[in-house]
């Protein structure tokens, strides 16, 4: 029987006969096996000669391509296979809507064609890709989708950067809301917020939920910055309107950071970071604000980062020193002790004021090792002094959050041999504001060890009398702002007097801070303060100056 040489449609029709042509009929057992595999394969398979004639086909192939579509395909495959001599593979969509992956391999007689229906597989892949880019809670895109979209836009030479804006929206207080309303309502609320954002943007804009309660928007094809400005205003208004959700009335506010990509900007993460910086500033401005990114924000952030790096290094490089400022008892005119004050002598920055680095140290937690160093150093120094003098050490709220504080203090005392009654911790009311009450418990423990506790900066902040009742402080330190202003500030004077009286009736010492002149000294003395601290008596001094200071003082006092 000759190889089919008739028209292709006929060949196709005939190919449904199960019996293979003589030329291909099995000679060897291995060939027989190969042939039967070929005939029974689940994939459509056929052999075509170099002239495009069908030599052999299996039943799946016949079923799929037995009609007209098959001829066109064969002709094309033949042409293509002829052009590239090796194995080829490609996907093709057929008029019936299905997509096949078609592979051709060169064989002796011509080409082996194998085709599989990949329609469902592709659809599954597309669904998975879509799902991987969709946020389940809001139905919006997620971070992956957002980054891809932004990257595509930044790399597309056709998209005019001047018409693009990136906005990030963050809900204020959402975590607290989520905790009080429950996850289910929290999620539903995120869904509503997402819809409101969607309703405010144009059809071509991209909206995604980037994380937790943070949304991202890419505005395209609009004149900037005015369009981003208008959108931000609208979003702040819209998101801030009340929600009814799960039978409850909910109020949240959104803050927004906006960044306009500079021409040629291509780094998606850098843009997102700048948007976050602007968002951070907006949040600082208060609920429901928006801010455009400015290069200066980045500079400030960098400056902070460098300060943090230097700060972490400073301890190891021994750039910190403690200086000591005496506190004088007004009745006896004797030095009762010294407050240890931290100084940072940075080789590159020079002397850095504590006001400039303590807040950052607290924010970053670096205050914990620094605070530990201060405690140990102050105890070691004070142990060398006359037993009549105490040392006062500032301990911040952040340190009270550290479970190791008590053991650090115990070890500082043990190592130095300092009598616990000579150590005074100065705390601000922020320590007492700790809601869990752990600070209070820690203070009680320290108290039973004999450590003294002073309330610092009293008069600023809330100055709740409740703190004074909740813990028996040894001392109240009156903030220097009230002391300094006394000459022409009757309110400040009244406050000093009130605190002094309060201390007296509660049995607590009262220290007026920042006394600089004889006039101020006379006034705080008449107001009833028991102790003073300030330049009038002495600036803070290096530890090796203490001895001579005390002896000079004693000598002059004796005169």
């Amino acid at each position: 029987m000759p190889i089919r040489a008739k028209s292709q449609s006929l060949a196709l029709a005939k190919s449904s006969k199960r019996r293979p042509p003589a030329a291909l009929r099995a000679q060897q057992p291995a060939d027989a096996l190969a042939l039967s595999v070929f005939m029974q394969m689940k994939r459509a398979a056929a052999v075509v000669d170099h002239d495009g004639r069908l030599l052999l086909s299996n039943s799946v192939f016949d079923e799929l391509f037995g009609a007209e579509g098959g001829n066109a395909m064969l002709a094309r495959i033949n042409g293509e296979a002829g052009r590239n001599a090796g194995k080829t593979s490609r996907q093709e969509r057929f008029p019936n809507g299905r997509t096949f992956e078609i592979e051709t391999f060169p064989v002796d007689q011509g080409w082996l064609i194998a085709a599989g229906d990949v329609t469902d597989h592709l659809a599954g892949q597309a669904r998975a890709a879509e799902a991987a880019r969709t946020d389940g809670i809001t139905g919006l895109g997620n971070r992956l989708m957002f980054r891809e979209q932004l990257t595509r836009l930044l790399h597309n030479p056709d998209s005019a950067a001047a018409t693009v804006a990136l906005l990030v929206v963050d809900l204020d207080r959402f975590k607290a809301l989520n905790a009080s309303l429950g996850r289910k309502v929290g999620d539903a609320l995120l869904g509503l917020v997402g819809k409101r954002i969607r309703s405010a943007v144009a059809a071509g804009d991209t909206v995604a939920r980037l994380e937790a309660d943070k949304f991202g928007i890419i505005q395209v094809g609009q004149p900037q910055p005015q369009s981003a400005d208008a959108l931000a205003i609208r979003l702040v208004d819209l998101i801030g309107r009340a929600y009814l959700c799960d039978g409850q009335l909910i109020n949240v506010a959104g803050s927004i950071g906006v960044v306009l990509p500079s021409p040629g900007a291509q780094d998606c993460d850098h843009l997102l970071k700048n948007a976050d910086l602007a968002l951070g500033r907006a949040k600082k401005d208060g609920h429901g604000s928006y801010r455009f990114f400015e290069a200066e924000m980045d500079e400030r952030m960098q400056a902070r980062r460098h300060l943090e790096i230097d700060l972490r290094r400073a301890l190891a490089l021994r750039e910190f020193v403690l200086v000591y400022q005496p506190q004088v008892n007004l009745r006896t005119n004797t030095v009762t002790g010294f407050e240890a004050l931290l100084r940072w002598q940075c080789p590159t920055r020079g002397a850095v004021s504590p006001l400039d680095f303590i807040p950052l140290a607290e924010e970053t937690g670096v205050i914990i090792p620094i605070g530990e160093w201060v405690l140990r150093t102050a105890c070691r120094e004070a142990a060398k002094w006359s037993p009549a003098h105490i040392v006062a050490v500032n301990v911040s709220a952040v340190q009270f959050g550290n479970p190791n504080l008590v053991s650090t203090i115990i070890s500082a005392l043990a190592e130095s041999g300092l009598d616990p009654r000579r150590l005074e911790l100065e705390i601000t009311e922020s320590v007492m504001l700790d809601a869990r009450g752990t600070a209070h418990a820690v203070l009680q423990v320290l108290r039973t060890m004999g450590v003294r506790v002073a309330l610092d900066d009293f008069g600023t902040g809330y100055s709740s009398l409740g703190y004074l009742r909740s813990f028996p402080f040894d001392k109240i330190k009156i903030d220097q702002s009230f002391v300094r202003g006394t000459s022409n500030d009757p309110v400040g004077a009244a406050i000093v007097r009130a605190i002094a009286e309060l201390g007296q009736s509660l049995g607590m010492a009262t220290v007026a801070e920042g006394v600089e002149t004889a006039d101020q000294l006379a006034r705080v003395a008449s107001d009833g303060c028991t102790e003073v601290q300030g330049y009038y008596f002495s600036r803070p001094m290096a530890p090796d100056q203490i001895e001579s200071y005390l002896s000079t003082r004693n000598r002059t006092n004796l005169l």
């Binding site: 309703s199 208004d237 819209l238 309107r241 929600y243 009814l244 039978g247 009335l249």
Partner: protein, 147 residues
């Protein structure tokens, strides 16, 4: 689906821009949307307005009230929505949905006075009368302040 009956009462600032002609167009559009949607959503209530404010009562299944409110919240024709009440209730105080003009302006009265008649302004029972009085008082009080 939550079918528990809820009642929402709120007022907001009227932000429709333009003269009487623009206001007529927008009020008409709100009227038509509301008539179309509220029946379908099983919502009854009352919307009263003047040149300064809107005050509205919406009653219906919780999901319907929440969905309708969410749509209304996004409407640029008003702002500063103040929710006065959002509570479960046993009974509707408004048997149908209606809308009416409550303001001092003679001119607006002439323009919008007919709407109440068109929607058949009605309340049901004492509770309905009480709530209606509240929102009407708000409308009169806030009219000058909001504008």
């Amino acid at each position: 689906m939550h079918s528990q009956l809820y009642r929402l009462v709120y007022f907001s600032k009227n932000r429709i821009v333009g003269g009487p002609a623009a206001i007529t167009v927008e009020i008409d559009s709100i009227l038509r949307s509301s008539q179309r949607n509220n029946t379908r959503m099983d919502i009854t209530g009352a919307l009263i307005f003047n040149t300064g404010i809107f005050a509205q009562v919406l009653e219906g299944p919780r999901d319907s009230v929440e969905a309708t409110f969410e749509k209304i919240q996004q409407d640029v024709r008003h702002s500063d929505v103040q929710v006065l009440a959002f509570d479960a209730t046993d009974q509707r105080a408004f048997a149908r949905w209606s809308m009416g003009y409550f303001g001092r302006s003679r001119e607006s009265q002439d323009l919008f006075g007919h709407i109440a008649a068109a929607t058949g302004f009605t309340t049901a029972g004492l509770e309905g009368a009480r709530i209606f009085e509240i929102i009407r008082d708000i409308a009169f009080e806030e009219e000058g302040r909001a504008a």
